[in-house]
Amino acid sequence: MTAATPTARSAPRGPTLRARFGRAVPYLLLAPGLIWLVLFYVIPAVQMFTYSISTGTLETGFTMTFGLDAYATAIDRFGKQFLNSILYGGLATFFTLAIGFPVAYTIAFRGGRYKNLILFLVIAPFFTSFLIRTISWKILLGDEGPLLAPLKHVLHVLPGNFSILNTAVAQVAGLTYNFLPFMILPLYVALEKIDVRLIEAAEDLYADRRAAFRRVTLPLALPGVFAGSLLTFIPAMGDYINADLLGNPSTRMIGNVIQNRLLLQNDYPVGSALSFILMAGILVAVAVYARALGTEQLTG
């Protein structure tokens, strides 16, 4: 940031931008984008909150009553879907971590010259649509699909009426699949940064490999665990595609209810209350999680 001075010194012909607009330059640069975000991120959030404490319909319009009826309804009627979201989102986060950590570790410490290729393969799913990937799972897991058909009719290890599709298992498998790259990438970034000499030093000081891993590698990887868990848990909580395509009515998550309330029932107060609870819940969860991991630099 020493660059501000030379500009003034070497002012060549004519007034410079800085001379003409002075201190306004950063604000001028910020203004258009920030106005956009205020109009279409901040104000919608306020509007959503307003509707959550209003009554009315699309035809009559909504009036603010400051009542909490919508919140009562949201919790009374849709508690199960909230729990489903926490459960399935949590399970997906756990499985992505269990799968992602060894993978990220291998890429970071053993990738060698194939590092970039493997990383490329990890993000390759992003080049296909989320929806089409989930439909592919539907094909794969289908009752007569490429996975079950051979097990049923060739190997005869499964009964003919065995089914995975439309169960919680398929749904969690889909969520895990869809968010796995979001876990691997931050884990990789954190592990890659670790100075191998620190691990060597631990081993020189008579830590066995397990202890070195537990006392050196793992703590240093925590920021990656934090970022990866958030990047997985937040979208997985709000997801409704996997529940819709791979689950069944009893495995629906809160996203399914929000979508149903707002787009099909036009029930704006309850839909808004549900979204607001989801957002508040996630903010609280993030705060608790950040404290639990105990590092303040995590968010920086």
Binding site: P12, S129, I132, K138, Y206
Partner: protein, 294 residues
Amino acid sequence: MADALSAPLPQPAVKPSRGSIMHRINHWLLPAFTTLAIVYLMVPIAVMIVFSFNKPQGKFNYIWNQFSLDGWRHPFDWPGLGDAVVTSLSVALLSTLFATILGTMIGLALTRYRFRGRGALNGIIFLPMATPEIVLGASLLTLFVATALPPLAGGVPTLYPTGFLTILIAHVMFNISYVVVTVKARLAGFDRRLEEAAMDLGANELTTFWKVTFPLIFPGIMAAALLAFSLSIDDFVITNFVSGTTNTFPIWVYSIQRNALPVQINVIGSIIFLGAVGLVALTSLRSGRAVRIR
């Protein structure tokens, strides 16, 4: 792949025999596990491509029947599909353009100037990325509805019923933060002395920006634009709330998959996938060459 992964790693000073199980895990299990995980990630993509050559028996492309090129010969042969793809492409192009411009400006301001509130803004810019998509979509819908109802109705431009314009607004919004973060990362390693040199040689600020700064940060801007484009063209959750009766490709797929699963979905999915992979391969080859030259 397993071979590649088991390349020797720098051996620690302690003899590996001290934990022979740990050693075996490190040597065999990790590469094998990683290979399996990569396979897990690739399988649905393989399914998508393979089933694009299927000739399904009924309306649903769920079960392999026989090889056929029908889907590839007539990739848009379903009512509404062509329009949806065109809408997706236009939204992606326009939202990428706007978000890249707005986001780059914010990124420049955040990295190159000191001003009141800069620290807070650095954090706030992450908020849209940390908010669940469904909440972004839901809250935008409440705003768009509100513009058509009292007390806002008549006072502000109406954005309801929703359609192309509201999809575009939403995509620009969620893309801005991603652009800012990407551009900032690129600007962090920027050598300001290059600009000082240009100005010492008599260039004014605008010339310096266009002749020195911009070309240097251009790769970062391109990376941000590619990211924005891919996020936009794939978005379903937010778009579903603000699209009304307008279809983008993901919305079209979602609405049709209850009644039919045409093979064309796989064909277009494969085209997008192969196109994206080709593009990335091309840019990484080029940047690889640039690095070597430097």
